[in-house]
Symmetry: C2
Subunit: 413 residues, 2 copies
């Protein structure tokens, strides 16, 4: 008999695997899954796949397991056991039994939370003054919630990948919400976008080619476009709806797409990087939280893919969650990629509309001496337009509170 | 006919004056107020005074106007006009007409918000999962709210001065709330307390006598007590209930009171400073927001009182609100006290449970070259116990985002 924790763990592993499979399926395709799942687990997993409405879920058809390269650690174990047992079905069965038994299946623990199912409860009206609020609750920030007062809901649809909500707020301008989580508000988005783009770009002596993964709102593109030396800006966004919605409702960010150097790919960033080895000076991953489809972006294989796609001397900057909430998620990831990159550092900026009012960045380099000190500074005309970034705050943003420094980098630092 | 804004302004000025008067009244005392107030305004002002349940409000009795020294700018104008007109009643009348007409009565605008009346709406239960939440809404952070999930309400009473609530939260430990505003949570209070105490103390070469105004929870005392060189720690807290409640429910902070160097005064800090000129090396004002009784702590006369009570080379550190919300309140205050102190600087720390996830400090010195670089560093044994402060974060905390630097100190910085 499996414990509740083990059952939950299996469900999560299954969910992540299914999402991976899903990304690699052709329209209408299907895949086999055989494991130890109880009917409850299967029911839940099935409902997830149905939720994203691309393929019908069938437990009868085979598909090409080789396509599941992204979850390399799962697949390699599968192939090993398959080779030992000479049976694919048996291999999956053993694999999931193992997963449930050891609870140490994943190299990191970034994805230990199932995505919420329904977001209707996130909008509520108060009885006292009949004001309407968006109430942001999530498994990654239990027991706390940030709320914004809604003036008008402008858009609310499910895309192929996620729940997309845009509303006009009373005091924070337009707000983009994906899967119930605030991605940006017009009032404070500049802080995140500027720091995410300018820390790696001003740390790099001469960035020519820049890759953005995610970031479909265009905000990071807008900031990269401020660098005249950059010749090519490629963006890989999985969800075309995010781009379309941003162009319609969030032009202050989506104007980033107007720059002629920007090339848009609606595709999976990991796949693109595999096909473009040693190609980029800077890679920026502007992702949502590690819940649902974005889970894989917080795992070692994805960082290996970024490393492979970087030129020598290149720098990556990825959304790195919050030290007040997620040191237990950040630390193993930072540790896991330390052997991969020459330097791995962590910076942060304040941004009121993100959980706990700040967000961090994992900044790593392939060669070089680290990114804490900018090698270039903004032209006066550019600095005038920036609202958060300065060369001073570049350096200050790497200075962590004692508890975070200890937890992420160990007590000797 | 007064405009709505003017009426509101008069109400606020009146409210602030009444609070000042109230503090100086004996139990059962009363005071006269004659002005241009409409009945609505009087009704509102009256209800405020009643709310704090110390004195009945009468518009018929006189009191000693000389006691109103704290609102010096109002009082001095009153005396000037009284001298000119030879009538106290007429003086007050002219004064308030003038206030309404010019709307430039106050040297700063820190107090332009009336306190909320009732806090019952701040606790609500969600229908979806029957969880109980404390919902922090306030006039100083319109359109946004931070919520904490409640495990159990431990204490909820009105003190002489304010509404005092203590609850145990699901994920943030014990929480103290005054007048509907979170003052500290067990999970993150160390950030604020450490930075508020250690920035001025480590900036000062040899602090012997330290004064704390407010800070009845004891957290700042706990941090000051880490400095072996400090010989005397005086605290002036107006509200004894806050101390008593903290000792009972928040011992992790209230243990600050246990240090034998601590002397507790239940009194108004401004009065104490007047009686103790040139006495302290460091003065720390750990106040609530400028709503209600704490308004006066955000005005120039209070800073003059601190300056007077500082020894040469002394440093003050006061709660300075948040750059994401209050630059329009911080900037005029910083400007107003620049001529008073040798250096006026602004630092901040991150703290998830404060509005927008951070809080700032106004740090000013009487002599000296500023406080951005610590003159001393913590002993290894002390540093080990600190969870936020390090000498590096001391310096980094003064580096403001571009927008805040421009707004508070002007674009030339």
């Amino acid at each position: 008999m499996l414990s509740v924790e083990s059952k939950r763990y299996v469900l999560l592993q299954e969910y992540r695997l299914h999402i991976c499979m899903y990304f690699y399926l052709k329209e209408g395709g299907s895949f086999v899954h055989v494991g130890i799942s109880s009917s409850t687990i299967n029911h839940q997993a099935r409902s997830k796949i149905k939720n994203i409405q691309k393929s019908s879920f069938q437990i009868a058809t085979t598909t090409n397991h080789q396509q599941l390269r992204r979850n390399a650690h799962i697949i390699s174990m599968h192939w090993l056991i398959r080779w030992l047992t000479n049976s694919s079905l048996l291999a999956w069965t053993i694999l999931f039994c193992l997963s449930a038994a050891t609870s140490s299946f994943s190299t990191t623990n970034m994805a230990d939370f199932p995505p919420p199912k329904d977001y209707s409860h996130l909008i509520f009206e108060t009885k006292q003054d009949n004001t309407k609020w968006f109430h942001e609750r999530g498994p990654l920030w239990q027991g706390q919630a940030f709320s914004l007062q809604i003036k008008e809901v402008l858009y609310h649809q499910k895309s192929l990948f996620q729940d997309v909500l845009v509303f006009d707020s009373e005091h924070h301008g337009k707000v983009l919400v994906l899967d119930g989580v605030i991605q940006c508000t017009e009032r404070d988005e500049f802080s995140y976008q500027e720091m995410m783009a300018h820390i790696p770009l001003y740390a790099h002596p001469d960035p020519k080619k820049v890759l953005v993964i995610g970031g479909g709102d265009g905000g990071v593109l807008r900031e990269i476009a401020r660098h005249p030396g950059v010749e090519e800006i490629v963006i890989c966004e999985l969800d075309k709806d995010v781009i379309d919605v941003s162009k319609k409702y969030l032009p202050f960010m989506a104007k980033g797409f107007d720059d002629p150097r920007v090339k848009v790919n609606i595709m999976d960033g990991a796949k693109f990087m595999e096909e473009n080895q040693s190609s980029f000076d800077v890679i920026i991953t502007d992702s949502s939280d590690p819940v649902g489809p974005a889970c894989v972006l917080f795992e070692t294989p994805f960082y290996k893919a970024m490393h492979g796609s970087l030129r020598e001397g290149g720098i990556i900057c990825t959304q790195g969650e919050c030290v007040w909430l997620h040191v237990n998620l950040i630390q193993p990831l930072v540790k896991a990629i330390t052997s991969l990159f020459t330097t791995v550092e962590y910076a942060y900026c304040t941004i009121p509309s993100y959980p706990s009012g700040q967000i961090g960045f994992i900044i790593a380099s392939k060669g070089g001496k680290g990114c804490k000190v900018p090698t270039r500074t903004p032209e006066a005309s550019v600095q005038k337009e920036l609202r958060y970034y300065t060369p001073d705050i570049h350096q200050a943003s790497f200075v962590l509170p004692a508890f975070a420094e200890r937890a992420i980098f160990g007590s000797d630092r």
